[in-house]
């Protein structure tokens, strides 16, 4: 049997979910026997592959770039997993929603800056008005809450996804876990 193609993606999150994923430690070797990590901030691939079996997405959708990415990920993934609270609820990134991106950018790049105050507009993508969870843009197959989900949660969930076994998410984790 050929190995499963696994991808992990980092949208508007803190990378804590990826750190927790790495906390699986030696169990990563077990995972490497059945899956190849084909795209991830942890590997070198620059383009999201044509066909991915399981895509784990960390972070909320906060910019036009995130929105474009999540649609592409959905189109090229068999199973899309919303990984962690930011992807599922908006979590901390969504705390700017009642304030608005203009006021936030102003505070960060104009008000509190002494040298060359200017709002970056080249290369960096435009922020969306509100930060939203990924399931408000695309269909999500599995929700894995937690901030971050624990390494044990990752291990149990990924094992169930790889083997196609039953998966009781609420027995493993919750919002803010």
């Amino acid at each position: 049997m050929s190995k499963l193609k696994l991808a992990t993606v980092w949208l508007d999150g803190c990378s804590g979910c990826h750190m927790s994923f790495l906390d699986m430690d030696e169990r990563l070797l077990e995972l490497a026997e059945v899956a190849d990590l084909v795209y991830s901030p942890l590997v070198d691939a620059k383009e999201f592959p044509e066909e991915v079996d399981i895509a784990l997405v960390e972070g909320a959708v906060a910019s036009v770039d995130d929105e474009k990415k999540i649609k592409k990920i959905r189109d090229h993934s068999k199973t899309l997993v919303a990984m962690g609270d930011c992807a599922i609820t908006g979590n901390v990134p969504s705390m700017r929603n009642s304030i608005g991106p203009e006021a936030i950018l102003d505070r960060a790049y104009i008000e509190n800056v002494s040298a060359q105050p200017q709002i970056p507009c080249i290369v960096v993508p435009k922020l969306l008005k509100v930060v939203r969870p990924i399931h408000q843009f695309v269909k999500v197959d599995v929700f894995l809450p937690g901030c971050p989900p624990s390494a044990d949660t990752f291990y149990t969930a990924i094992k169930a996804l790889v083997n196609g076994g039953p998966l009781d998410i609420s027995a493993l984790t919750r919002f803010g876990a």
């Binding site: 609820t89 009642s98 939203r132 969870p133 929700f143 998410i169 919750r174």
Partner: protein, 238 residues
Amino acid sequence: MSEVGTEVKILVIDEQEVSAHAGQTILEVARENDIHIPTLCYLEGLSNVGACRLCLVEIKGSSKLTPACVTTVQEGMEVSTNSERLTRHRRTILELLFAERNHICSVCVANGHCELQSLGQELGLTHVRLPYRNPDLPVDASHERFTADHNRCILCTRCVRVCAEIEGAHVWDVMGRGVNCTIITDLHEEWGKSTCTRCGKCVQVCPTGALFDKSKIGSEHPKYPDFLPFLNMMREAQ
């Protein structure tokens, strides 16, 4: 609390035959018999308002769902506390609560000790299908000991009831209508300038991180609302 009579009623809850005193609520009888019905606004020791609707149950012969905390038992009643329909409704109620205000569990003072959060887990809520409202809500930190964070309030009115019924101060109340409802101290004064007696009962009964003790800031803020029935018992004995 309901007026409990001496007359005995026999009814069926989840196919289990149970006996109750006339005047007892379905919820009280279910709890006495270790039958779990989820609740949020209900708290033993306070009056029942049926605000959160999580304790909805099905009664044979009625197509309507009935709140168990404010429905008294009847002879021969057949109650079912668990069904796919009830779970669906309860989950939707939680989704509405999560979507209505800014419940950011990961940075909440009540993370790990929150009744809304644990009910979400208990009812298998892994995401909220509704769009979040993200309202701009105030945090009142004017009180020297406590803070009211309206972002986390679910309007269960436990604070209003404990202040009026147990402390006898009636500092807390509800202002506004519908989605604009908010809990206020006195006539919408700052908490710190209100007639608050600083007893802290409202903080202990608050199911979420809406009311919290400033000295407990961080993520270790368990609450102990179980003092209420004992307080009532002691008062009744006097």
